[in-house]
Amino acid sequence: MNGFLVLETGESFEGNFLGSKTSAEFTADTPVGEVVFNTSHSGYEEMATDPSYFNQILVTTAPMQGNYGIDDSFWESKQIWIKGFVCLEIQKSKRDSTWLRRLNDNNIPVLEELDTRSLVFQLREAGTTWGAMILAKNAEEAKGKAFKLIQEKKKVQKDWPFLVTTKEVYDLKGSEKNGLKIAVLDFGAKQNIMRELMLRVEHLRVFPSRTSVEEIKKWNPHGIMLSNGPGDPEEVLEATENIKDLIGWKPIFGICMGHQILARALGGHTYKLKFGHRGSNHPIKDLILNKIYMTSQNHGYAVDPKSLPSSVDITHFNLNDGTVAGIRDSKNKCFSVQFHPESRPGPHDAAILFDEFIKQVR
């Protein structure tokens, strides 16, 4: 079926629409979201289940998707979060199970045979924008339908981590019998953050994003993990306030959204990047370990270096564009990184940072 990705800025890209719904059902629930591209060669299932992709349409620059099938163990959360999946070609051969079928079974439509490279040019030059995946005969018709839908959906609640966080507190058992307790503040946490921590500590307790300081303190963890998550950190007000009260109490380690929230809680500001960083090949200069390594990244905002108080050191830089990729408040034993040491997808080079965190906690 003819489908279009219509951008808020007016451009449209034609593709082949693959969805499980009838066109009437589809119109009622058109996928609308921020259109973002990821340059990783592999890891489509990990990406789609990463809560940081909440309210986003994912474009993969790697042209061929679905090649190696699916595997439940790749899921980074309990659901697929992307609104839609856009690629050049998705595997359609007859197999027992396919990525396409899994997406469609989860009501995620796919636009393939779409000129993703030109789409990326557009996003790179004009910046990230919202878009809608529309079933239509031609671009004009698609555009006619798209703009209103995009405006409607954009009005939704802005604290995205609150929309994706766990509703209940839950415990996880680690494999290390060292008695260590780590509290994870879930802003949309990837499973692999838990897995990495479980390899290093005995007890993990995962808290909803707006959990009160008292409740966390009551459990008396040795350290606090601020997870990744979707959206604009400026909108995550309540959690930021809470974290201000936790700084200095116990060591804190933040990843991605967790990093941005920590920076804000320390008095810094964040700003929106033109088109974000999403991929598995981002070089980071780590001044703590004195190393350069490749990292997995997925973020649309960054910490403004000029806004940070003097007590906070910039410890990591993104070598592609020089943006802040990590900070540390040594006195208060807090540090955080903009990238994903838990990988999935992406290189494992930075997993060593979890060990750094444990060192702080001990």
Partner: protein
């Protein structure tokens, strides 16, 4: 860390003559490295014996030595130059082994020279299988069970323990040399013996088979700060069991999950650290069991390799250049990404396209050789296709091989075509799918990962849906997105290719040119490196003034290789000096011409009419250049001209005068040139008639073949009948057999000249060392000529100029002439740059390519560049040596004839003819024996002539042996000679004697099919036991001259 402060002068080793397993990729890497280091202000000394390379051009390095890459020569150069360091990682296995040898005998230490890029213990840890296995153990990496074998008996024991099939990997050899797969004890016994012999350390790793596992390769880099990046992951279409150089490969890898890939990446990082590679590039090969994902390490190369060249072209990441900069002190962070100009080199390229590499083979050149692929590399070249999908890139790559514009023609197949890997297997697989064999069935037979088979099946499904449908309603765009060529579609609808093309143009189904930008469009990129795809709407080209399109030479093959890339690359700067911009088209990832900074625009595209026309239509150039890339562009000329494009230089009419045999003969007669008698025969009866006029010996060849295919020298009527018998299917009324008088005992010469508006400059006259009958590409040659009389040379030059004038040449003309009894015969003309151009340019110093460009542009005399332009003033004698791939092809005969079989050439430069000869032989991998027995088996007509040679050998202290006939004559002349049995006379015979190691040199001249067949085993045993074997009288004479020089030990090394 920036550039090492104390570093002023570095030496770079090239890789020597082109051989299977070590081709022009090392010209690419060496050239890139030299350029980068020169830019850093270092003095760069380059040593390479291969004159066909760009890197040996005087401009590339501070000083260039075209000298043998052997200890005794290199030592002299090092003593003379006293460099601070040697970088041994850019010239393949040859350079690495040489560096290790220089280190081990203390030369480097003695001269205070450091090895940069790879320390000796690192080389050993990666190259020595036992040491490498210990490294793997230390990082917990798995590898196939194996045993290191040093004797035949140990070999038998190992086989007993490991079970068949077994893989043999001799230590320290290149391209899997001497290795292979053994399925039975019988096969194994032969292979273990030759493997032990092949390994310089007489060690063979015998390994349990992982046949059928998925094979991957990671191209990695590391700097002194420990930063590690994977430049490219490569997945093989062919599962384990086929040498990766012979496999179809795809980048990036397509079928590993992210987790599997990342674990492989982790392991690669651990291995490179544990081996101790401090800086530079390396590649690591892995195998993955498709049943359970188990991963093992196959091997590692601690240097820039063939796959680094591929990875560089596939990603835009210049591995060799960066390896060179890392070796002299920089870190990845300090080096800019050349392509984006805004991001650093410490990153991993992201691709938004798929790259497929396919090997090109030459089995047809070696009659009797079985087309079966094993762990020993046999391909002679490769082509790469870039597309947005695997399907698009695969079809582009196959078209780029230039065998056919139809990648998957209808062919018949047998079960064994699928189960035994072979050069055409992908076509058989496609046909099997066409014939309804299922993907799962094919997987069982081939072990090719089902994803690849599914992709091919997609093509078959489309083909079945639409062949014989209505062309008017045919979804052309969809077909083009799948990569189907116009030629393929033409067969579906029984149309002419041009008709399909015009319909396509009417519908505006045209490709888009996308950039190779290292980053999947994440960052803006200026580098003009493009590939075509139908997965986006076409876009207008921003018109560039004075643009010329230069057609390259495509994949290397026997007869068309690096020499043509030299001409292409060298021409670019001259075009630029003349005010032009150059757009290069080529499909060969090994070359310098496909480096993104060689030309102004680079189109990585197949060199067929369809792709070239699209590029021309896109950039709308002032003209196109077809004289530099060998026969490939010449063949495209008619179609390009018919589409209205302007050919630069000699016109199509001039080209036809040379290419069309009839027209050529006509103008030769018109100019009163002597030419051999000739005629064309339609069948054997006709041929017998002609033979009476032309007179034996006669050279026969089917009319349309190139490169001397099926060309034979026929001595008598029986052989003529046999020839027509054997080649009947290639000869008929439309394709008659050309029959030329063979100028027996004539001396042959090659002439290369360039001509412009009012001038002609002879580049040089190369005198062949062998007499007529050996293909000019296979014969050794000397410049200046040694046997021609000055007045004959003058005649040759005069005739050449006359012919060029008559043909109205603008640019290059290559001529072959023969001289017999002071009479000069015109044999052949090629209206283009030739294989001998780089040799002549380097030997004489005449900038032949620059002048050729000026000629093509019809410049007049007063516009010419001022250089020394008289080739006769050359200060040295230069001899062209030749290298053959016989070792790689069991059953191949090493006898030289009119069909070209060599893969590469070397140059020996000397103050005297004998010094040059000596060096040329040494560079051509000939061991020159100092003592021992010389076995002679001579045809009657050579016996008298070679008596003199035998006499000299005796005087030099060698002993002689010969079969009865030759022995008798030698004894009659008073020369002591041991008589040995012919093979037919029972054992022990002469071949046993060669195999036993008693023979140091063989001179075996023979002619006529029967005698050639009878003496085959003599030559074959020489190949297997690395005994030099001369098959032509003058070659034998020259070899003895070289031996003499060797004994005098009087030689020096000279920079260009």
């Amino acid at each position: 860390m920036p550039l090492f402060k104390d570093l002023k002068k570095v030496v770079i080793f090239g890789s020597g003559p082109i051989v299977i397993g070590q081709a022009c990729e090392f010209d690419y890497s060496g050239t890139q490295a030299c350029k980068a280091l020169m830019k850093e202000g270092l003095e760069v000394i380059l040593i390479n014996s291969n004159p066909a390379t760009i890197m040996t051009d005087p401009e590339i390095a501070t000083r260039v030595y075209i000298e043998p890459l052997k200890k005794m020569f290199v030592k002299k150069i090092l003593e003379k130059e006293r460099p601070d360091a040697v970088i041994p990682t850019l010239g393949g296995q040859t350079a690495l082994n040489l560096a290790l040898e220089l280190y081990e005998c203390g030369i480097l230490e003695g001269l205070g020279i450091e090895l940069l890029g790879a320390k000796p213990d690192v080389i050993q840890k990666a190259e020595d299988r036992e040491k490498f296995c210990r490294v793997l153990d230390s990082v917990g990496a798995k590898y196939p069970n194996s045993k290191m074998v040093r004797t035949f008996e140990q070999g038998l024991e190992a086989a007993d323990q490991l079970g068949f099939p077994l893989i043999l990997r001799p230590n320290y050899t290149l391209g899997g040399g001497g290795g292979g797969v053994a399925y039975s004890l019988e096969e194994y016994k032969i292979k273990i013996a030759s493997g032990l012999h092949e390994s310089p350390t007489n060690e063979v790793l015998v390994e349990e088979s992982i046949l059928g596992w998925k094979e991957f390769e990671l191209e990695v880099m590391r700097d002194s700060a420990g930063t590690f990046v994977v430049v490219c992951s490569i997945e093989n279409f062919d599962p384990c069991g086929v040498h990766t150089g012979d496999s179809i490969t795809v980048a990036p890898q397509q079928t590993l999950t992210d987790e599997q890939y990342q674990l492989m990446r982790d392991e690669a990082q651990k291995i490179i650290n544990a081996v101790g590679v401090e800086t530079g590039g390396a590649n690591i090969q892995f195998a993955v069991n498709p049943e359970n994902g188990e991963r093992v390490v196959i091997e590692m190369n601690p240097r820039v390799s063939r796959s680094s060249a591929l990875a560089s072209k596939a990603t835009g990441f210049p591995i060799a250049k960066i390896a060179a900069l890392l070796a002299v002190g920089y870190t990845l962070e300090e080096i800019e990404n050349d392509i984006t100009k805004s991001t650093p080199a410490c990153f991993e390229p992201a691709l938004d396209y798929v790259v497929t590499k396919v090997p090109r083979f030459a089995f047809e050149k070696f009659s009797g050789v079985k087309d079966i692929l094993t762990t020993q590399m046999k391909s002679v070249g490769e082509a790469m296709g870039i597309g947005r999908t695997f399907k698009e890139s695969l079809q582009k790559a196959l078209i780029s091989l230039e065998n056919s514009d139809i990648p998957f023609p209808i062919i018949e197949w047998k079960e064994e075509n699928l189960t035994y890997p072979n050069s055409l297997r992908i076509r058989y697989i496609y046909q099997a799918l066409r014939d309804g064999v299922s993907v799962s069935e094919l997987y069982k037979k081939t072990k090719v990962t089902p994803w690849f088979l599914e992709q091919m099946n997609d093509l078959v499904t489309f083909e079945k849906e639409f062949t014989k449908s209505d062309f008017k309603k045919f979804p052309l765009l969809r077909a083009k997105k799948l990569g189907f060529s116009d030629a393929t579609l033409a067969t579906w609808f029984s149309k002419d290719e041009q008709e399909v093309r015009e319909e396509r143009w009417r519908q505006n189904v045209r490709p888009r040119y996308f950039q190779v930008d290292t980053c999947a469009a994440e960052f803006a990129s200026e580098t003009p490196y493009f590939y075509s795809t139908y997965w986006a709407k076409p876009k207008q080209f921003e018109n560039q003034k004075s643009l010329v399109v230069l057609l390259g030479s495509g994949p290397n093959r026997i007869g068309q290789g690096i020499e043509f890339d030299y001409s292409c690359v060298r021409s670019v700067s001259q075009f630029q000096k003349e005010g032009y911009k150059v757009a290069m088209i080529n499909s060969n990832p090994e070359t310098v011409s496909t480096d993104y900074d060689t030309s102004d625009l680079l189109f990585f595209e197949p060199l067929n009419a369809e792709s070239v026309l699209e590029v021309l239509k896109y950039v709308n150039p002032e003209g196109f250049v077809a004289q530099l890339g060998g026969q490939t562009p010449i063949n495209l000329v008619p179609q390009l001209i018919n589409n209205g494009y302007n050919l630069l230089g000699s016109s199509k009419e001039s080209i036809d005068l040379a290419e069309d045999r009839g027209q050529f003969i006509k103008i030769c007669k018109e100019l009163n040139f002597k030419i051999p008698n000739s005629d064309m025969a339609f069948d054997v009866h006709h041929a017998k008639e002609i033979a009476r006029k032309v007179d034996f010996p006669i050279i026969c060849r089917p009319s349309y073949v190139l490169g001397g295919r099926r060309m034979e020298i026929i001595e008598n009527e029986d052989e003529l009948i046999s020839y027509f018998d054997r080649h009947a299917s290639f000869i008929d009324k439309q394709n008659p057999c050309l029959m030329d008088q063979f100028l027996d005992r004539a001396l042959e010469v090659d002439v290369d000249l360039v001509r412009g508006k009012d001038w002609t400059i002879i580049g040089g006259v190369i005198e062949h060392i062998e007499k007529a009958g050996v293909h000019s590409g296979d014969s050794m040659g000397v410049l200046p000529p040694q046997r021609l009389k000055p007045e004959t040379l003058k005649t040759i030059e005069d005739l050449s100029v006359q012919l060029a004038d008559r043909m109205n040449i603008y640019g290059f003309l290559n001529l072959q002439l023969a001289v017999r009894d002071d009479e000069v015969f015109m044999l052949e003309a090629n209206p283009r740059s030739s294989r001998s151009v780089p040799f002549i340019a380097k030997a004489t110093g005449v900038p032949l390519v620059d002048l050729g460009v000026q000629g093509m542009l019809k410049r007049s005399k007063n516009q010419l560049i001022k250089y020394p332009l008289d080739w006769k003033q050359m200060p040295f004698v230069c001899v062209k040596g030749v290298v053959f791939p016989f070792k790689k092809f069991q059953e191949a005969d090493s006898i030289l004839g009119p069909e070209m079989k060599s893969t590469g050439e070397s140059m020996g430069r000397g103050k005297s003819y004998s010094e040059a000869l000596f060096k040329a032989y040494v560079s051509s991998q000939c061991s020159i024996p100092n003592e021992g027995e010389v076995f002679l088996s001579l045809r009657d007509k050579d016996k008298d002539e070679l008596i003199e040679v035998a006499q000299e050998l005796i005087e030099m202290g060698y002993s002689l042996s010969a079969t009865q006939g030759t022995s008798t004559i030698l004894k009659e002349k008073g020369l002591p000679c041991l008589t040995v049995r012919k093979v037919t006379e029972g054992r022990p015979h002469c071949v046993d004697r060669i195999r036993s190691g008693k023979v140091a040199l063989v001179i075996n001249t023979t002619s006529g099919k029967v005698s050639i067949d009878a003496s085959f085993s003599i030559r074959r045993s020489c190949i297997e036991y690395s005994v030099p074997c001369l098959t032509e009288a003058d070659a034998a004479r020259s070899f003895v001259l070289a031996m003499k020089h060797h004994r005098s030990r009087d030689f020096d090394t000279y920079s260009l």
